[in-house]
């Protein structure tokens, strides 16, 4: 199939998710689509798959203009989309999942189990996967589920397969098998669009590439003509970061030591020191185990091995209250699910953590609570009308300030902030940055988990870059550039996948 997408645009309100992008894939070609989070890759692919309607532009398939693309039409044309997240029904068997919505029936309209099982066996054999078609999907490992997603795309005649980060859940061996399958599909004349954040994989399997950045088409060409450094540069662009790091870097004594922290399937062998007054950023790409690491540091997730020492004392991991009392506070990511207690007032949301760690009296004193609120309001500049109103009546930025205050009130020495500026407006973001600087100036130590480089650049003294569950690089202020972060976050320093296996989190 020859695919040409011309001048495709798609707006979400004022945001141009995709802006006049040209994208061409040739017959029997494996084409790598590159871009950072939010660059417009998914939007573009959803337009091709018919899930989103473009605001402008044309799609040509084998030279023919396709108008009003729908999911159904795209399917009929032989375009198959393998999604990053698993879309399997866990309680059904493998073959039932493979044929879901496209079941084979006999002349009486009764399901033809035998034929479906036979065809499932065929396709599983083709991709060299040893899975019983009558196995229940929930009994399978995540990586095997991903392979079933892939098998589903191969079950019916297809001409173009879109793979959106298909390797995130796979083991090395399975990635090698997947690449073999991709090569054999290519030999049969199929075209593949391969979306991945991992440079070694892209260079191992793709022949052409297209880079998107901020919804715009940047460049297309042959991967053999560029190297990983060049690819990273294209991805990031030479965007000038317009914010200045004003805090002077101090190196106080070590307050927190993390050694060999490992959680099966998420991250392994994480070690670092945190100094007094230091702002340490931890970054990476989706699926690098960052979120799980932040939870483990706070005692909210089980770890298999490793220790965390605060002020020379071992933390009992796995018990949030002990960690809190040892002087560690945490602002979790996903404010709505993990921080906000939606039925409670602004005031009560602020004081909840205080009760756990500090409150010793029998009764709650409302006057004390109000004083506590006022004290924090001055520091975090919470803008609230009536403090007895529900917290959900506030803007996202103000909600986050309440949550930050919740932890400030504990007067912890160490703060873990996981995506602290998620879903809040620019003004509130800057206030949070100011607050981070202020805390560090007062001698607090902060670990900030973030995927936004401008944010890291603004606040961090030092940055750890994670790749596949491990710390791939440590960047000091001097080497803290977006290109460097991308380079290590994509594992571009690792060698090719077949030559030297990428370390997988087991």
């Amino acid at each position: 199939m020859i695919l040409e997408m011309k001048q495709i645009s798609r707006y979400f309100g004022p945001v141009k998710a995709v802006d006049e992008v040209n994208f061409t894939v040739g017959e029997a070609e494996i084409h790598g689509l590159l871009g950072e989070n939010g660059a417009g890759k998914s939007t573009l692919m959803n337009i091709l798959g018919g899930a989103l309607q473009p605001n402008g532009g044309q799609i040509f398939i084998d030279g023919q203009l396709i108008e009003d693309m729908t999911i159904h039409k795209s399917n009929a044309l032989g375009i198959k989309f393998i999604h990053q997240e698993l879309n399997l029904v866990n309680d059904l068997t493998v073959f039932e999942n493979l044929f879901l919505g496209q079941e084979l029936t006999n002349q009486f309209g009764i399901l033809d189990r035998k034929a479906m099982i036979a065809r499932s066996l065929d396709v599983l054999k083709r991709i060299k996967v040893d899975i019983d078609p009558i196995e229940i999907v929930s009994n399978l490992e995540p990586s095997r589920k991903q392979l079933i997603e892939i098998a589903r795309a191969l079950l019916f005649e297809s001409k173009l397969i879109i793979m959106d980060e298909p390797t995130t859940a796979l083991t090395n061996k399975e990635i090698d098998i997947l690449f073999d399958i991709m090569r054999s599909l290519k030999a049969h004349g199929l075209s593949i669009i391969f979306i991945s954040h991992k440079m070694p994989e892209l260079f191992a399997i793709c022949e052409k590439y297209t880079v998107l950045r901020d919804g715009k088409f940047i460049e297309t060409g042959y991967l053999k003509d560029i190297n990983e450094q060049k690819a990273t540069n294209l991805l990031v662009g030479r965007s000038i970061v317009n914010s200045q790091h004003v805090k002077e870097i101090v190196h106080g004594p070590v307050v927190m030591q993390v050694a060999g922290l490992t959680s099966k399937g998420h991250f392994r062998d994480i070690s670092f020191d945190l100094h007094e007054g230091e702002v340490l950023a931890i970054t990476g790409l989706h699926g690098d185990g960052r979120g799980e690491l932040s939870e483990s540091l706070f005692g909210a997730r089980h770890v298999e091995a490793g220790t965390v020492t605060v002020h020379g004392k071992h933390l009992k991991l796995g018990n949030i209250r002990d960690v809190m009392r040892a002087g560690v506070g945490m602002v979790p990511r996903n404010r709505k699910e993990r921080s906000i207690i939606k039925d409670m007032s602004i005031l009560n949301n602020l004081s909840i953590a205080f009760f756990i760690a500090k409150h010793k009296k029998i009764f709650i004193d409302k006057q004390e609570e109000i004083e506590r609120f006022k004290r924090n309001q001055k520091i975090t500049d919470i803008r609230a009308g009536n403090i007895d109103d529900d917290i959900t009546s506030m803007s996202g930025g103000n909600q986050q300030k309440v949550i930050v205050s919740r932890w400030l009130e504990l007067n912890s020495d160490i703060y873990i902030l996981d995506n602290p500026t998620q879903g809040i407006d620019v003004g509130a973001k800057f206030e949070i940055y100011k607050l981070i600087e202020e805390l560090a100036r007062r001698g607090k130590s902060l670990v900030i988990f973030s995927s936004e480089f401008p944010e890291i650049y603004k606040v961090a003294d030092r940055c750890l870059v994670m790749y596949e569950g491990q710390i791939n690089a440590e960047l000091d202020r001097e080497h803290l550039t977006e290109i460097n972060v991308m380079f290590y976050a994509t594992g571009a320093n690792k060698e090719g996948i077949n030559a030297n296996n990428i370390q997988q989190p087991v």
């Binding site: 009560n348 953590a353 756990i356």
Partner: protein, 327 residues
């Protein structure tokens, strides 16, 4: 720019009224119900009648207080009626053996708390939905007492009976003992729920368990405590029921108590989704459930339709709550 309202004060007042009404919806419905009852029976609104109402509502009402705690915590307990039967049946045995009301009360509270904590442990550590756990224990607890009673009733000995029944039948300065006990327990529970850390945690867990956990709350302990308190209150209720009836028939005692308790909590303006509501609401709710029975009798509606009316009330209040939440 469009001028929204010519008189901003008028808007403000209505909003305030609406805010008050939605927060204290149980007061509004209580007044409404009282009005209806008085229209049907002009003599309804009298001291004698209202103190009888409190008396009648008290035994089930104490359970409604426990149910309120559980529902605020995002859970439910269907086994309260069976706990009452099991505790009351064995309570009679203890009373007859010891002849001591304090020892019997202590037994009832401890045994009720134990039965409740079994529910809590299964929910917290077994990770089974409260609905399922308490459905199972509802059947199990009832079955034990029916077997122990061999079908016959547990009767309070005749030498104990005259003074023991006075616990429920007596009064202080014309106020029935049961009403006083009910109000006292309500006050204690209301203070715990509104003025202590524990109460705050219960609301937090019911509203957002994940956020509560990440704020350092020991969610499992809170859940177990809620069930234990509910069991303890059911134990007190069982003790009072013993005094009131002086004869406990295992298959019937406390039956449908869970329905009345849940109905009371629902009418009392406590969110069925957890995290919201006031103990005073469930207190008034329990009174209202009792009033509805009275109103039905006064209106000459067959008492068999009691269950239908309660069922409709539960569904209706939950629908109203959802509408309010969507607004």
């Amino acid at each position: 720019m469009r001028i929204i309202s010519s008189n901003p004060f008028k808007n403000l007042t209505w909003e305030k009224v609406w805010a008050f009404v939605s927060k204290y919806s149980y007061v509004v419905s209580f007044i409404g119900l009282l009005t209806i009852a008085t229209i049907i029976n002009p003599r309804y609104f009298s001291y004698a009648n209202l103190s009888t109402l409190l008396l009648q509502a008290s035994i089930k009402g104490i359970i409604a207080l426990g149910m309120a705690i559980l529902i605020i915590c995002g859970m439910i307990d269907l086994s309260v009626g069976s706990i009452v039967a099991l505790v009351a049946g064995l309570g009679v045995v203890v009373l007859n053996y010891t002849g001591n009301p304090w020892a019997t009360l202590a037994f009832c509270m401890a045994f009720g708390a134990l039965l409740g904590s079994i529910n809590g442990l299964l929910v917290a550590f077994g990770r089974i939905a409260p609905f399922i756990v308490t459905l199972a224990t509802m059947s199990a607890y009832r079955s034990i007492i029916v077997q122990l009673g061999q079908g016959g009733p547990f009767n309070v000995n005749s030498d104990i009976l005259p003074w023991f029944r006075m616990i429920a039948a007596g009064n202080v300065w014309g106020i029935p003992n049961l009403a006083l006990i009910f109000i006292a327990i309500m006050t204690v529970v209301a203070v715990i729920m509104s003025r202590t850390k524990f109460g705050r945690y219960v609301y937090a867990v019911g509203s957002n368990e994940q956020a509560a956990r990440l704020a350092g709350i020991n969610v499992n302990m809170i859940k177990i405590a809620c069930f234990t308190i509910t069991g303890l209150l059911a134990g007190i209720s069982a003790f009072l029921l013993m005094s009131r009836l002086t004869s406990i028939t295992a298959p019937n005692a406390g039956s449908q108590f869970e329905l009345d308790a849940i109905a009371g909590v629902a009418i009392g303006g406590i969110a069925m989704t957890g995290g919201r509501g006031m103990i005073a609401g469930s207190f008034m709710g329990a009174l209202m459930v009792q009033m509805i029975e009275g109103v039905l009798i006064a209106a000459r509606i067959p008492p068999f339709l009691n269950g239908l009316v309660k069922g409709i009330i539960i569904i209706f209040t939950v629908l109203l709550q959802r509408k309010k939440a969507n607004n």
